[in-house]
């Protein structure tokens, strides 16, 4: 038996995944620059966990290890999760998240290519539901922190929970701008008052966060130019956020944050270019991708504005994952020569 196409283009799943990781690097660098060493430790720890868990799952399902470990998809999941967690998240938080991401969301659904939900987002969702306190202890931007943690100190905090003497928890962590906003609004403050009262808000987004978002954007655009991700998803996702946030802001500027602010959050940019674009869990038709992106953007803002959690990217994407088969089925593009016959 022989396959048509005896020749193959150079390219592989591994290559795709490595390019995704490479394009995440600007974001990671910006993260380190703005928030310190914690994220590097988290990334490394999550990657190790991903490979170990992936190997374990493959072994249990008696799949060969090498090709599936080498495909790099587990590491991408690890990075996406780590980048979504607080930079100084304790080690066990990452562990639980990865367990759900790799073990449940990926392998219980059949492994690479078979999962319905984005594994990293499942991990994130589980954590934010189970450990809301830890999930909102964001590392303070270095420019605001009293005394930046060194690499060793970060390591100690993540794995031991201990802080160098003389430093309180408040000195290293703070709430994210979205979180601050949410708490403030609950206390019946207006948007304006909250922004004036807190120092976490930068020129567009949050202090530090806006730089990270910009770096994600840069990496994402490279990915886009390389045609690793389809243009429709990020464009539609950001447009979805912009339109929904714009409408709400226009309706009540005192309650709803401006569209620029919503887009300039790291989670939105990461979501737009790296998470919503996950091919496995996304729509596959061109129009379907527009719908998918718009829907995810819309839901993100809705959850941020009215939901019980400060950020909505993860839930929005998971909800849209759920709709993918439907979207695909209703957005079949016409085939060559289909217009004429009927």
């Amino acid at each position: 038996m022989t396959a048509s196409a005896h020749i193959l283009q150079k390219g592989s799943v591994t290559r795709v995944m490595l390019l995704v990781l490479a394009c995440l690097l600007p974001g990671v660098l910006a993260y380190v620059w703005q928030f310190g060493w914690g994220i590097v430790i988290n990334l490394a720890w999550a990657s190790i966990l991903a490979l170990a868990l992936e190997a374990l799952a493959l072994r249990l399902r008696s799949y060969p290890l090498k090709p599936f470990l080498a495909d790099g998809s587990a590491v991408v999941t690890a990075w996406l999760l780590a980048l979504s967690l607080p930079p100084l998240a304790p080690w066990w938080l990452t562990l639980v998240g990865m367990l759900f991401a790799i073990g449940v969301a990926k392998h219980l659904y059949g492994g690479l290519g078979q999962n319905i939900f984005n594994p990293a987002m499942i991990g994130f969702a589980v954590l934010i539901i189970s450990f809301p306190a830890q999930m909102t202890q964001w590392a303070a931007p270095l420019s605001l922190a009293a005394q930046p943690l060194t690499f060793g100190e970060s390591l100690g905090f993540i794995f031991g929970g201990g802080l160098p003497p003389g430093l309180g928890l408040d000195a290293v962590v703070s709430a994210t701008p979205l979180d601050t906003l949410r708490t403030g609004l609950l206390q019946q403050h207006t948007l304006h008052e909250i922004q004036a009262a807190s120092h976490v808000f930068g020129s567009v987004g949050g202090v530090g966060g806006e730089w990270v978002a910009a770096a994600y954007l840069a990496g994402g655009l490279i990915l886009w130019a390389l045609r690793i991700v389809p243009w429709q998803v990020p464009a539609a996702f950001l447009a979805g956020i912009w339109l929904t946030a714009g409408f709400l802001h226009w309706a009540d500027a005192g309650r709803y944050a401006a569209p620029w602010f919503q887009i300039a959050t790291p989670s939105a940019m990461l979501g737009a270019f790296f998470i919503a674009t996950d091919p496995v869990t996304g729509a596959t038709t061109p129009r379907g991708r527009l719908i998918f992106g718009l829907g995810a953007g819309f839901l993100t803002v809705i959850i941020r504005a009215f939901g019980g959690y400060p950020d909505g990217v993860a839930f929005a994407i998971l909800l849209m994952n759920l709709c993918v088969p439907l979207i695909d089925a209703y957005t079949q593009p016409p085939v060559f020569g289909a217009a004429k016959k009927k």
């Binding site: 038996m1 008696s62 799949y63």
Partner: protein, 183 residues
């Protein structure tokens, strides 16, 4: 409380009306059940199911008088399709009626044939050509492989030849997609 019950009842009535209307309006004009069952049966007309042909078996199934797993030529796949059509659980083929065999056609050894016409009378699809005292021959394209002609032949000159795969009827195989480790 009362309002709630009233509202729920109202909704139920409304939905029921819509559904009822839809059922009438968009009624699917389909073949009667017997036709649908008959379309699934392989039409070998071999009688192995215990009925004199596929149609009587179809009628028996439709009336609920016969089980769906009695037709060996249809095999497991046939049972599955019947189960799907009738909305019942598929079950394994009832082996007391025979087992599924590779599709064969009858072959008459013309040097032995005595022209007795017994096979012609047995063939359910008139796939045998010949007249009294003349050699008989099988129209292979029409033969369903029912084997009904084999037994009546007084000189045992009819044999069943399984259809061989050749370039003309060869099928592309399901690609082997080895994800799992070969133990």
């Amino acid at each position: 409380m009362l309002t709630a019950i009233l509202v729920m009842a109202g909704i139920a009535v409304a939905v029921g009306a819509v559904l009822g209307f839809a059922a009438l309006r968009y009624k699917v004009e389909g073949d009667p059940l017997v036709e649908k069952i008959d379309a699934i049966l392989p039409q070998t007309q071999c009688g192995q199911c215990g009925f004199p042909g596929c149609r009587p078996y179809a009628e028996a199934i439709a009336k609920g008088e016969a089980d769906i797993n009695l037709c060996p030529p249809g095999g497991e796949e046939g049972v599955k399709k019947l189960a799907e059509l009738l909305g019942v659980e598929p079950k394994p083929l009832d082996e007391s009626h025979g087992v599924q065999k590779p599709k064969s056609v009858a072959f008459i050894d013309e040097s032995l044939c005595i022209g007795c016409t017994l096979c012609i009378q047995a063939c359910p699809v008139d796939a045998i050509l010949g007249a009294a005292k003349q050699m008989h021959t099988i129209i292979a394209a029409e033969c369903t492989g029912c084997e009904l002609c084999v037994a009546p032949c007084p000189v045992d000159c009819i044999s069943m030849v399984p259809l061989k795969e050749d370039v003309g009827n060869w099928k592309w195989k399901y690609p082997v997609f080895k994800l799992k480790q070969v133990a």
